[in-house]
């Protein structure tokens, strides 16, 4: 072997070696997002992030996506709509992320919609409500099971009407999310021919609801639809328990955010009995899909360490499902091309731990899987009880139903 041959082999070995190193050290796929980790929305933001982190760890344990590890780049948006446009610009221009997940909730997501539409980017939505209804971005896919805008009110008011309700009261927080719901509730009430005898929007700074509940009681409604945010929901329930809403009320609840969170449910305890409220996932027999049990085993362990909602039913599995959908789209298209991923997401049904998901043209679920469930047999100061089936009986939709409504409201509370 002459010197030239040796040199040739050595060069070839070096080139091969470098190539191997390069493929072993391929940069990770960066998924960027802001998440409310402080401020009013942190109670939802933190479990959502934990769900996404569990997916990241699972997918990385399987070798990542396209042979590359998945890395999350996350900033705290402090639950503020004014923070998110700058944070997403930073994620795109400084961090150079490959894919975007939206922050939890409507308020921080709304201001980034024009940005992603303008740049033609795929955005996986995270429990927003109707943020794409005016923007019409064709690369938006919400992980929340709301479906059509009127699904929350339709499920609740249909149940109320079946229970003999003829009039309704509407109490809503004076804030975008709750007002969107209140608007659809008015439309559905009109469609179902249910007159509204009390309609109030309260300011988010309301500390005490006794006066409001007294006025609501005086209007003598049969159905009470409440669209409230976490601190208010608990305060409203206390006032309802003390002041009362009247014997004629058949159905109370609807869209009370907060009654899905472990700390609130534990502290409210027996006050929750009889309330029919929306939810997304519950430990009922009809809600178990491939991987659901394994997810909650992991979540329960990590939630204690992360000091987040110990139950995590409401948002966390949907964070995981959001990752699963991206995983399926990337694996199927073998690319990170945003248009290709969006096309795949739009045209296929995705198998997730919260059930099969397929999308309508507006990026919301084709069919609503927003549950209406009634609290039953809840005792005080016992969080573990909520892990058992039968504590929140699903009344709507019919395909997931696990029981019948107990009405009127006062009877259901006993």
């Amino acid at each position: 072997m002459n010197r030239r041959t040796v040199l040739g082999w050595a060069t070839a070995a070096m080139v091969f070696g470098l190539t191997s190193v390069a493929s072993a050290e391929e940069p990770p796929i960066k998924i960027g997002m802001s998440m409310p980790q402080t401020g009013g929305l942190a109670g939802g933001g933190k479990p959502s992030l934990l769900g996404i982190q569990i997916w990241r760890d699972d997918v990385n344990a399987k070798g990542g996506l396209l042979g590359r590890k998945v890395e999350l780049v996350v900033y705290d948006d402090k639950s503020s709509a004014s923070e998110t446009p700058a944070l997403y610009a930073k994620l795109l221009d400084v961090d150079k992320v490959d894919l975007l997940f939206a922050p939890y909730a409507t308020v921080p997501t709304a201001p980034i919609m024009p940005l992603v539409k303008q740049r033609g980017l795929l955005l996986m939505g995270n429990f927003s409500f109707q943020v794409n209804s005016k923007i019409h971005h064709d690369m938006w896919f919400n992980n929340a099971p709301w479906g059509p805008a009127d699904s929350w009110a339709t499920g609740f008011l249909t149940l109320g009407q079946k229970a003999g309700g003829k009039t309704m009261a509407l109490l809503s927080a004076d804030q975008e999310f709750a007002q969107n719901l209140a608007t659809t509730a008015r439309e559905v009430a009109k469609k179902l021919n249910i007159p509204i005898v009390y309609d109030q929007a309260y300011p988010p700074s309301t500390a005490e609801f006794s006066s409001i509940i007294r006025a609501l009681n005086a209007a003598k409604p049969d159905i009470v639809f409440v669209a409230s945010y976490p601190p208010d929901s608990a305060a409203i329930m206390r006032a309802v328990n003390e002041i009362g809403v009247g014997d004629n009320v058949k159905l109370f609840g609807g869209a009370m955010v907060g009654l899905q969170f472990a700390a609130v449910m534990e502290s409210m305890g027996s006050l929750l009995n009889g309330v029919v409220n929306y939810n997304t996932w519950l430990p009922e027999p009809s809600m178990n899909f491939d991987g659901t049990k394994e997810f909650f085993e992991k979540y329960t362990k990590r939630a204690i360490e992360a000091k987040v909602d110990p139950l995590g039913f409401y948002i966390a599995p949907y964070g995981y499902a959001m990752g699963q959908m991206i995983e399926q789209a990337v694996n199927a298209t073998k690319s990170l091309d945003q248009k290709g991923l969006a096309k795949y997401l739009r045209e296929n049904t995705h198998k997730t731990i919260v059930g099969p998901i397929s999308y309508a043209d507006d990026g919301e679920w084709k069919q609503s899987v927003t549950l209406e469930a009634q609290f039953r047999g809840i005792k005080d100061k016992n969080m573990e009880q909520f892990r058992q089936p039968g504590k929140q009986v699903i009344l709507f939709p019919d395909n997931l139903k696990t029981g019948e409504l107990i009405a009127p409201f006062e009877a259901a509370r006993k």
Binding site: G40, P231, A235, R238, E242, A263, V308, K381
Partner: protein
Amino acid sequence: MFSIDLLRDAVVLGVLLGCFYAAVSIGLSISFGLLDVPHVAHPAFLVLASYGVYWLNDSYEIDPLLAGLLIAPLLFVLGLITYRIYYETFERRGSDAAVRGIAFFFGVAFIIEVLIILQFGVDQRSVTAAYIGKAWRIGDLRIPIRQLVAFGVALGLTVLLATYLSKTFMGRAIRAVAQDEEGLRLMGANPVRIKQFAFGIATAVLGVAGALLIIIAPVEPTLDRVYIGRTFCVVVMAGLGSISGTLIAAIILGVAESIVLTMFGASWAPAISFGLLLGVLAVRPQGLLGR
């Protein structure tokens, strides 16, 4: 919709609500009203006290009000330290201390908020007690017992503080420092020490006020932001430094808010409160019972 029954209920519930507002504002009446300290972290200390009450109630099943009394000495010390830092870093250094002091107390408020999040997480917390969730029934009027508790405690606090400030040596010294700090210094007293002590009392009072806050409704780390406007509104409307004025102003605010919530539009409630403040200040710039 108008009915005499509704109006009666609105007034009764408003008086109770007003007493609760008085209890959470009374500390600020001392720190801001008497001492001229721009204490925008007052509601943050209030929420911190609520978490202390929550911890004692949750861990040892101690009644929230008793828990509030137990943490009061700790809050007193915290108040002494906070004022000393504020004095050394801001007040001592010049005439624009108030403006810069606002930044200081905003900083303190954010630190408290973050500490609460680190220790307790971001979820809402609430307490249990025999009087929470029950109502006293008189005919068709139902009065939440937790609000009656707030009513009694606010009255007690007002009487106690008003008596302390007018009848005791230290109380009179606190009033004196509020009126003429320089005069007090010339008489050989140390106004800084008196102000520090008064700030300690203003913070200690938050033990009981924090207990009422978490008795009335669940708390979460950022709840202080809701109470900044309301507490300052009560103190300014009362007349700076007037303890009995604080109770009267808070009751006026509570009744106005309750009537608006019950009989008109709930959305108008904050506007009515601050409209009332502007109205009072237009007629009496020094507030209802101002010095």
